[in-house]
């Protein structure tokens, strides 16, 4: 490990900048007490797991508060500020409310599947956290196939959503589940290709190595690869069911989507899972695009994992920002957007990145010369592609001039008298399609001087 010149606190166990020292110290203790070989593994795994679960627990609560406050501020209102200072106890109140609510299960629902769905939906979000590098050598599992592991886990989410929709035996829920699966599977392809571009450029799939790559070349990958950042951000916001793609629980259309039948803590778990997945995805973006714990030597002074959490919440703010402002896509527009724009852009991007890496390796040029050149080219390339898409492939509204016409007096064009759609001229007295509301249906009448029965079809 390279020696770090600017170390204020020497490398012993209470150096909080890198908690691996702590676990290293504990391993030493076990070896001194010559415990069994596997005990070291178990202890370090437990330490990492406890760290992650604590982070997840804290995040699930804090994010509810952050999201409601930030979206509130965007809508020029205050957001929760009644419970506790600045409304900090509001998420706690929500959690308690959800816990004491009765968990209903529809009678004909598929019990086993119905209760497994929220758990299966939460697992990917938590498991992804294990692979992320929180500090220089502080990552629970330094998998050699880190990014592939992330993709595999996030692809499990689609199935969990289906089990939720199918299990609750409700027409709307199944409707929502089918929509969401179509969307998730469609948006998996652009996100895989976008990350492939990054793997190509940094030459490794291990996330910790990627951060070291960015530290070595002293540049966050978002500058070098702007297009994959855009593609991954949009496709992950679709995968997380967040506006502008929150088709699943589009209240104005089908009410509630796949978690319409859930109540009590099961719904709470679905809600928390959404937040945890959002944090997991923003953690991935922070690691891969913004250079996780590294920030131009800042990680000497400030603990690496604090920088990392700062970056996570920077990306998370982006998600909340889009949620607060953008209206929702329609399902077919969303899928067309994925197939017609995102996937071809991702393919084009991979080709360009491959060419760049090839040039870099063949010429063996120094990074100082090559990287700025690549940054400029990639930015230009992204801009050209976007403009080209908007001009040619995007929804064409050219035939409707946007500005309105203004008249200072009435002007009605003389139009031919329109033949209304001729209903059956000699329709029988009670109208052709006599609806089911015939008088014989009975119902409200003037019994006992009280008007009985409200308006009914």
């Amino acid at each position: 490990m390279t020696p770090r010149p600017l170390t204020l606190i020497t490398d012993n166990w209470y150096d909080i900048r890198d908690l691996s020292n702590l676990s290293g110290k504990i391993e030493e203790l076990i070896r001194d007490a010559n415990g069994p070989h596997w005990a070291v593994w178990v202890v370090s795994a437990l330490l990492g797991a406890i760290g992650i679960v604590a982070f997840i627990g804290g995040v699930a609560i804090i994010n509810i508060w952050i999201e409601r406050r930030v979206v509130g501020r965007m809508q020029s209102r205050l957001g929760p500020n009644r419970l506790g200072p600045f409304g900090l106890l509001q998420p706690l109140a929500d959690a308690i409310k959800l816990m004491q609510k009765e968990v209903l299960q529809p009678k004909a629902a598929d019990g086993l599947v119905f209760s497994i769905a929220p758990i299966a939906f939460t697992v990917p979000g938590i498991v992804i956290m294990a692979v992320l590098p929180w500090g220089r050598n502080m990552s629970l599992a330094r998998l050699d196939v880190g990014i592939l592991f992330i993709l595999a886990m996030s692809s499990l989410g689609a199935l969990a959503v289906f089990t939720g929709g199918y299990g609750s035996n409700n027409k709307y829920a199944l409707f929502g589940a089918m929509r969401v699966i179509a969307m998730l599977v469609t948006y998996e392809i652009p996100s895989v290709l976008a990350l492939l571009g990054l793997v190509l450029f940094s030459g490794t799939m291990d996330l910790a190595d990627m951060v070291l790559f960015q530290e070595k070349f002293w540049i966050p990958l978002v500058l070098v690869q702007p297009l994959p950042f855009l593609i991954y951000f949009i496709s992950s916001s679709a995968e997380l069911n967040r506006t502008p793609a929150d088709l699943a629980e589009a209240e104005s259309e089908i009410a509630g989507g796949y978690h319409v039948e859930y109540s009590g803590m099961k719904f709470g778990l679905f809600y928390a899972a959404e937040l945890i997945n959002a944090v997991a995805i923003s953690a991935i973006i922070a690691t891969v695009f913004l250079g996780g714990w590294w920030f131009y030597k800042l990680d000497e002074l400030v603990p690496g994992w604090m920088i990392f959490i700062g970056k996570i919440y920077a990306v998370y703010f982006l998600f909340v920002w889009t949620r607060g402002t953008l209206p929702r896509f329609r399902i077919d527009q969303l899928l067309a957007f994925a197939w017609k724009w995102m996937t071809p852009m991702a393919f084009a991007n991979i080709i360009v990145v491959a060419a760049e890496v090839l040039i870099w390796d063949e010429t063996g040029a120094s990074a100082g010369l090559v990287l700025p050149l690549y940054i400029a080219f990639n930015m230009l390339f992204a801009g050209v592609l976007i403009v080209a898409w908007v001009r040619f492939m995007g929804p064409r509204f050219s035939r409707f001039p946007d500005r309105l016409r203004y008249f200072d007096r009435i002007d009605v064009p003389s139009l031919p008298a329109m033949r209304a759609p001729a209903p059956a001229a000699a329709a029988p007295k009670s109208g052709s399609g006599a609806p089911a509301r015939s008088a014989s249906e009975g119902g409200g009448d003037l019994r006992g001087g009280r008007l009985v029965g409200g308006p009914r079809p």
Binding site: I410, S438, S440, R450
Partner: protein
């Protein structure tokens, strides 16, 4: 050229245009409106709509007035191009009012005719789906009629004083009981 302000056409001019198209359609001409024969009402309406002078392509409004002896269905028709407005009335019998539906001529009339049927009880043969618009089907009677729930002495009934009604005896159509007339 459209008039500066909407002109209310006089009954005479409208009547003269209608007689030109459908001779025996006009029953009576008043300064502000024209009363049509119910039998020839539909042809007169069609003529009014397609006449180049009257150009009644825009049905402003359709409602009904209960004149005790008869029920008038009032049509306000306008021409947006020439910015003028005129009024036609079609009288109908008070007990079994029936006026031909104008939905084949104006689509806008569908909901308004259903409202008139619902509140006044005027039947409109030719209407695609003549059912009640606001009230539920088994609501007895049509509230806007003057004789609806009339109490002794002809004083109009407030909605809260409902006389007792024996279910089943009068079948679906609830006939308000008039004490003293025995039925």
């Amino acid at each position: 050229m459209p008039h500066a302000a909407t002109v209310m056409l006089a009954g005479a001019t409208v009547a003269e245009r209608i007689r030109a198209a459908v001779p025996d359609a006009v029953r009576e001409v008043a300064p502000q409106w024209v009363v049509l024969e119910p039998s020839a009402a539909f042809e007169a309406m069609a003529a009014v709509r397609d006449d180049e002078l009257l150009d009644g392509k825009y049905l402003v409004e359709l409602c009904s007035v209960d004149q005790i002896t008869r029920i008038d269905v009032v049509y306000h028709i306008a021409s947006l191009a020439q910015n003028h407005l005129f009024e036609l009335k079609v009288p109908a019998d008070h007990e079994h009012p029936e006026v031909p539906s104008v939905t084949p001529l104006w689509v806008g009339a569908t909901l308004q005719e259903r409202e008139v049927y619902d509140l006044m009880g005027v039947r409109f043969p030719g209407h695609p789906e003549l059912t009640r618009l606001f009230l539920w089907d088994s609501f007895p009677g049509h509230p806007l009629r003057k004789d609806f729930l009339a109490l002794p002495g002809g004083q109009k009934a407030g909605l809260s004083q409902f006389p007792k009604q024996i279910v089943g005896e009068t079948g679906g159509e609830f006939r308000p009981r008039r004490p003293g007339t025995g039925e």
